[in-house]
Symmetry: none
Subunit: 411 residues, 2 copies
């Protein structure tokens, strides 16, 4: 059973881009995951004729409507009048709202100038008074219309405690969608899409969204059939193999932390180009002190030689951004920190570079008991993105090593 | 002269609340501050008939339209077809897009299966190819229609570098609002509002929005009167004093970098709780290698004693999270890096803490030629927010020291 809903968010401050429309997002999220089909989210200013048109359009295609904003006491707030106009209903003072408003104004020591808020369309029922808001709902031509305040906190409370429970008794046949997320790194959207194409074709009832979150990609799978969802998930995991690093909310640093703990390995970092980003990501994970021993940001050449014992000669002959320096850094940090693993990165994030390599050149080194692996990358991106790509690849190296320590011998 | 625009954002992932519609916000903000009147922001799924209806409605009331999303290579992406349908234009392959796509697919080693992206409505002109995106624009019944990709980064770049300049030559009569931004740290929204109240009352034509970007607050001032704007800006800067750290796009690390360079000072970092976040922020700034010498992430106690020469006794007696250890760390990193300044942080970000201090306890230390200052903070926030608050305060210490080196003696 498909029940359709439209969301209308009213407010000059939203269309003018002064504030982000979080109400639309909260509503879309809550309604969609409860199984309702959100057709459209329309954002308009406090303009009577636009409100009228939007209501008309929405009423034609949705089973129920949720409208936020424009219910306040100021002259900008025109939702009540627009609704009365659009639905051809008179505005009448509501005794419950009146009682609430009188108490409220008295409490605040304000003059009774907010009378306009007590006028709601005939047949409407006030909602949200217990959350200090003057919303209302009404049934019009068998459609359910909810008018909620624009203040996000109030809106969210009324939605959760009043509207959602009411909807589920009004539309008892609606079943929530089941969703699951796979997190990928190392392939781009197009590469992922081309590898999944036949799976998608065979299971048309499972919907897959790919959401890029640079440099990672989240694959959001949803279906009403949990069996099919499981099959598709399994197939995609097989197909994408090690490119899938986690599920759900799992971030790459969380996965890396779990694997290091599982394997009983400790790590230390020697960063140049990333300037501390790798260790920052690692230490965002609660409990990381169990496997992260220390980090060194050897930004200057002097730091590379003094702390990590990179030979000055190697820097002079090959340059700070070179395979040999990355190797010395990885082996150096492993040795001085007495950890199982040492990960190192050196490169040029721009805007300037040294004579030995161009901006975007990066070397990653991983030193492990089995040996040291070093590889060159070239990233054609902005400074911050080069840093993030480098750090993410370094974390991915650690993950892949933990899963299979022959990684150290791979290309 | 009022020029009206409608924004249509297309994407199943937006109506279903899976991702926040940041494109709508970016567009509303840019267009509105450039002086265009944003009538509506409509968000719909990848549904041909809804796209058609929304285009029809928008074309009736706006002078130009900006549509995002649904241009990709997957079968979900239906914008091109829907546009062709709605405007009754045939889809024809565009030679420029074809050439771009062939090069792209070759580079990625993919089969030529994305031909659909090269089909754009007859008369349309491709845009965004230089940003690796296949958007297009067309003029229909004297209305300007821009179709941009849904990926926020690409969308924002094309908007800024191509669409906005074109619009300003298409609609030369539109006068933009003049806006300016002041960036504050160290006061909360309510504190800032109460300090600015009388200024706001005296200048009703200047609008001020405070946009919290944890842990900083951006104050967005706008007016059509540049004189008034300048006066208000000056008054707010006077009133908030050192709490304003920068203007416009200036981030705190950029300001810190500028001041360190101006004063000819070099710095090194010794981080525990922040795990590299301070140095990561510092090194996000191009040219930071001129003033950032090195960083140490002394996460373990062994790292604190071995690299920074914090006496083991100090850790045993006072705990790793203590004033004395923060002092040793700041002085240690300054000494070993031979820099002018050493900044150090130690604390507990949670979920666990040691016996000497609760989660949220942080010590910041700054060692300078004049001496060493250490201060305790307590942040009641999540792990990542505690890290960010600590790092931001540390950067703010460096800024305040550079502006006035008696900061080292202040409380």
């Amino acid at each position: 059973m498909s029940v359709k809903v439209e969301i209308i968010n009213i407010g000059d401050e939203i269309v003018s881009g002064e504030i982000l429309n979080t109400n639309g997002f909260t509503l879309a999220q809550s309604l969609s995951s409860a199984g309702y089909e959100v057709i459209a989210i329309t954002t308009i200013g406090d303009d009577k004729s636009l409100i009228k048109v939007s209501l008309d359009t929405a009423l034609r295609r949705a089973d129920f409507l949720i409208v936020t904003g424009g219910l306040g006491p100021t002259i900008d707030d025109r939702t009540n009048e627009a609704v009365a106009d659009a639905l051809n209903l008179p505005l009448i003072p509501n005794p419950d709202v009146l009682e609430y408003m009188r108490a409220y104004l008295k409490e605040k020591g304000l003059k009774p100038e907010y009378e306009k808020m007590v006028l709601i369309p005939k047949g409407a029922e006030p909602i949200g008074l217990e959350f200090r808001a003057c919303g209302f709902k009404l049934i019009y031509e068998n459609k359910y219309l909810y008018f909620l305040p624009g203040v996000p906190d109030q809106m969210a409370k009324i939605l959760r405690h009043q509207v959602m429970p009411e909807l589920s008794s009004t539309f008892p046949g609606v079943s929530s969608k089941i969703t699951t997320t796979l997190n990928a790194f190392g392939l781009d959207e197009v590469q992922i899409a081309s590898r999944m194409r036949d799976i998608l074709r065979s299971f048309p009832n499972v919907k897959i969204l790919s959401l890029p979150q640079f440099p990672e990609i989240r694959l959001l799978l949803s279906s009403r059939d949990s069996n099919e969802l499981d099959i598709v998930k399994k197939k995609i995991k097989e197909r994408l193999g090690l490119y899938i690093f986690g599920e759900g909310d799992e971030t790459l640093p969380v996965v890396v932390g779990r694997l290091l703990r599982l394997r009983g390995l400790k790590i230390a970092t020697a960063e140049s180009i990333t300037g501390g980003l790798i260790s920052d990501l690692i230490t965002n994970v609660p409990g990381s002190s169990e496997y992260f021993e220390r980090g060194v940001i050897a930004y200057s050449n002097r730091a590379k030689t003094e702390i990590l014992n990179v030979p000055q000669r190697a820097i002079d002959e090959e340059g700070a951004v070179s395979e040999v320096v990355a190797r010395y850094m990885a082996e150096g940090i492993k040795r001085i920190a007495k950890t199982d693993l040492g990960i190192a990165v050196t490169g040029y994030a721009g805007p300037t570079a040294g004579p030995e390599a161009r901006v975007g050149t990066v070397y990653i080194g991983l030193s492990a008991p089995q040996g040291t692996k070093v590889k060159m990358y070239f990233f054609e991106e902005s400074r911050e993105r080069i840093k993030l790509l480098t750090a993410t690849n370094a974390l991915d190296w650690i993950r892949r090593y933990c899963l299979d320590d022959t990684f150290i011998y791979s290309n």
